[in-house]
Subunit: 244 residues, 6 copies
Amino acid sequence: MTDITRADGRAVDQLRPITIERNWSSHAEGSALISFGGTRVLCTASFTNGVPRWLTGKGKGWVTAEYAMLPRATNDRNDRESIKGRVGGRTHEISRLIGRALRAVVDTKALGENTIVLDCDVLQADGGTRTAAITGAYVALADAIAWGKERKFIAQRSEVLHDSVAAVSVGIIDGTPMLDLAYVEDVRAETDMNVVVTGRGLFVEVQGTAEGAPFDKRELDRLLELGVAGCADLRDAQAAALAG
Amino acid sequence: MTDITRADGRAVDQLRPITIERNWSSHAEGSALISFGGTRVLCTASFTNGVPRWLTGKGKGWVTAEYAMLPRATNDRNDRESIKGRVGGRTHEISRLIGRALRAVVDTKALGENTIVLDCDVLQADGGTRTAAITGAYVALADAIAWGKERKFIAQRSEVLHDSVAAVSVGIIDGTPMLDLAYVEDVRAETDMNVVVTGRGLFVEVQGTAEGAPFDKRELDRLLELGVAGCADLRDAQAAALAG
Amino acid sequence: MTDITRADGRAVDQLRPITIERNWSSHAEGSALISFGGTRVLCTASFTNGVPRWLTGKGKGWVTAEYAMLPRATNDRNDRESIKGRVGGRTHEISRLIGRALRAVVDTKALGENTIVLDCDVLQADGGTRTAAITGAYVALADAIAWGKERKFIAQRSEVLHDSVAAVSVGIIDGTPMLDLAYVEDVRAETDMNVVVTGRGLFVEVQGTAEGAPFDKRELDRLLELGVAGCADLRDAQAAALAG
Amino acid sequence: MTDITRADGRAVDQLRPITIERNWSSHAEGSALISFGGTRVLCTASFTNGVPRWLTGKGKGWVTAEYAMLPRATNDRNDRESIKGRVGGRTHEISRLIGRALRAVVDTKALGENTIVLDCDVLQADGGTRTAAITGAYVALADAIAWGKERKFIAQRSEVLHDSVAAVSVGIIDGTPMLDLAYVEDVRAETDMNVVVTGRGLFVEVQGTAEGAPFDKRELDRLLELGVAGCADLRDAQAAALAG
Amino acid sequence: MTDITRADGRAVDQLRPITIERNWSSHAEGSALISFGGTRVLCTASFTNGVPRWLTGKGKGWVTAEYAMLPRATNDRNDRESIKGRVGGRTHEISRLIGRALRAVVDTKALGENTIVLDCDVLQADGGTRTAAITGAYVALADAIAWGKERKFIAQRSEVLHDSVAAVSVGIIDGTPMLDLAYVEDVRAETDMNVVVTGRGLFVEVQGTAEGAPFDKRELDRLLELGVAGCADLRDAQAAALAG
Amino acid sequence: MTDITRADGRAVDQLRPITIERNWSSHAEGSALISFGGTRVLCTASFTNGVPRWLTGKGKGWVTAEYAMLPRATNDRNDRESIKGRVGGRTHEISRLIGRALRAVVDTKALGENTIVLDCDVLQADGGTRTAAITGAYVALADAIAWGKERKFIAQRSEVLHDSVAAVSVGIIDGTPMLDLAYVEDVRAETDMNVVVTGRGLFVEVQGTAEGAPFDKRELDRLLELGVAGCADLRDAQAAALAG
């Protein structure tokens, strides 16, 4: 497998260069500009004391996410969803995925009656935007929780986060399973999978789709193995950013 | 595992009663009213000679799907999406899933420049609506293709369908992996997964989500095993309906 | 007039076969799957204790209706109104008609501060969908009121329904007035009329439109006579279903 | 019946003061500002050479209408439908009614491949806005057709209008049938009916609704009689305006 | 400059004929049908005791405006914004301008917790519709405030209006600055400017745009001079109408 | 005037630190990340060979702009316009302003039948976002035109840009006219003005609004003087970026 040459010279089990610019925003309670190679996503966390009406009085908080792409984040310009007057299916689906992924590591009781909204805006897209969004949003979320503790909206000793969470794409190209697909790889993939994994190595979400030929159990196992290893590297990058 | 008692007395690896009422509609080119226990979905296939503008002249056809729920399909009434003026994220996500699942077994070249739209309307919901929709839509699709051949829109010898496809939900409840969750089970599941499997036993889609605790590789494997076996039973039910 | 041959062999003053499948839904407080020949409408009644804000504290209840058609209920597929993002004029108009027709036989004081929403979803259309919807919705409404009495939301002795209500279409084809038009007749009708009549034979609504030549008083009288007789037959079918 | 006193002193079979200000607009191809007492509707006809795509090449024209109300046409201000982002059911229903009423007297073959759009905007509302709109729109339509003949878009000898058309409301108040209800009467009416009648006295549309108690055949007959007589007076007012 | 001939024979510093028909509406608390030549705008003021939720309890009132055009106000028919389902940018922009212009002369403390909505509907357009709207809306506003005082919603001695406000367009055509452009002039203007000026001659708003060549300070000064003089004439017309 | 102390220590006629990061995007044909102090706007230019249908065949090109703000660009989070389903009035107004400002320096004949869309997305807002957007968009536009010449979509010798354009805000705070207001200044300003000025010092747009007390001619003159000087500094920054 070491003989496979990827367009950018990476090994099949190698991530693209990962950078996490923490506290990019001077307004948000937590923020991170994350890049997975050419993919750049601005993640901001907005902290509100209080919860939506349907959750009031239950002693629990709420974490949700919204994903969007700037019109010229991609190679060809896409019309704005605000102009079209409706949010597309793909946007909705990814927003829901990010929210679920983050809630999987949050103890909403410990969060108390507070709401954190994660906005993940893709400034530039080159494959893997949803996985970069989850990975960066975790950093923004952690900072927003720290902010809430400083302001006493959250009890100092509350363990709101019981684990960290990161995500990465994997896929099969020309029969070879690979980690962290760039756009040129993504469009050629026969199978495309996103895995969301906690810092302890457990699965939060596995979404695999055969774009071309259906896949068998052996291929699925290899993809999961690559994804778990990639997420471990991302976990380390998150920890480094949060320690910085 | 044989000691686990499910609400409806089923074994953990047992489907609910499956019925497929083929040709329910007198207008559609293919149709099936499918039930997975209390879940009832009306699937119709609409055949159009010709393709959307963006596909014209490429010698390929198009298969797409739309999923929706009647307002009182559920235990509490939901507002109509037509009245709200927008289609919700969940609806979009499931419509896209159904379309992808069906296209995975369609040879669009063999289909020729024809379009088939699958409408999957949930008349009554009791868990697993998206998997019932995929399973029933396959039957309607097969009939619509046969209709297209009779009318000579598709060459008689074209092998449009290179496999069949079915789907089922699996999940972990109180630590036990189970097949084909009814609504009362679904809301209690720690992990919820939908698997889409071809007649030959290959994966088209695997979507697993930890609703509660994250899951490990061993649990994932058991869920996939249950799902593959359930889809084999559904494949047989589809074949029986199409032979009927 | 006995010499006129209709496409399906009916006499000019004869209804199509009427079936009413009561309690079709296991979730709704009242439901009926009604068919007028090939027209099939699923009517569900959703009972809510309480009224919309604008009616609160007036000691009165509210009954309303929503009509819709599945995309492939018709011979050609229609786009979903949820996808188009707006409800069409025809849909609105029919929803309003059904609501008015039912409210005409309801004593909202006797109903108390409760709301009943009737959903009428056309599963298959072959002419007369709005009249079938009214006729079936009455059955679902009666059952929802009975449900409300059992649950003590409505006083046991309240006479909420002071009459029954049914509806039928009539029209003039090739100069001949006829009852209960099927789709092939409807498109050829010079005049098209819907009459909504109570069990006691009084008019709730008369909506007649000249699609071709305008009509005179004599023709109008004959159409009304046919409609009143047809509604009497439908009243008997409703009573039989509710007695069943 | 002569003893009944109406709020404005009219006899039960008497119209309110009717004025028709023809050619109110300097831009439209036909226009009329019509008043039925305090109800004032600006009707403009816009003539376009050509037809919508779905009608192209059939040698026929198209007449359609749109009805709307200014936000403060009524006693309390209503939000604009443009701001709400959707056109309400009542607006749609009335627009469709006006279009049908006008098309009933138009020979679309004689019109040729031309389109006329009637805009009926209620500047002030005091009951009967839809009937005033139909009556005024007929005048604007006649002028637009004359304009089309002058410009040679329509053959000089074409008889596009084979009759005139007018409309009026009738209703039963405290058991008494009355003509042309003002707003204060309309809200009290037990039965409310709109009749659309041609210049020759034939019915184009009859829409009667029991708002309170259902009505019997004798009452219906009296309402129709009043409506036909009222429409004859309106026909004369239209003729006078067009002769002016 | 006196040698310049305008299409309608006016001098470059001359307004078109201005008419203000006060109390046009019998429902609104204040109203004016204003015309600037062929431009006719119906302005109504709707008074509500109380303020929007976001302003409650601050002891201040609110004045806002909505501008719209009838579909055939212009030479070619425009689609209704209600049908399109969205309000266009130009409409929004003008509505906001009118609201700001009026608020500039209102003491919202003196108004108390009352809301006044100004609706400015263009019945016929011939250039300068936004400036006619502001000028007419001021008259309707003054009457609505008087109405509020009569009803004791506003203290009798409150000085709600600390000045009057009017607006006019100016522009440069073929190098010549001119006042109050009609439509045929507006489309040819190299620079187009709207000025909103109080009765005391102070600026509330200056909006100048180079449609063709950019303009210099000298031209800007001449345009402002013309605009201020035009607004002084309009102030006198407002005063005359309010005195009438 | 030199004694006035601004929150950030600037002189009244001093711009905030201006940075222009050219070619920020690897996809767009031109791009600039511009900052005016804490205000950061990403401007991208998308070049398309061809023009919208309504301009086809006229030998002219088209330049347009869209402005938007990320939800957490501001101190409090704003809901996304895509989620709300409609673009707000302020967004529309600013998009239109940016488009007009850029078209003022473009020779659309020289551009040929090409379209350039400028997207200005505010990543962080601290006052003056629309003026930063215009200033940055000019840089992206210039690069997109250069790109079009390299690709031969535009003739090499065409002088598409006959001048440069920049914009800045000015305002009166506590009676003192000041240049380039930061957010804390903007909210306190009695008068707020945006001026758009070409490289040669001519006005393209002047938009001044009295938020508090109306302003007189002397104040207006001082604001214009500050704005013209500020735009000259911005023109130099643009030139430096484009030379870089």
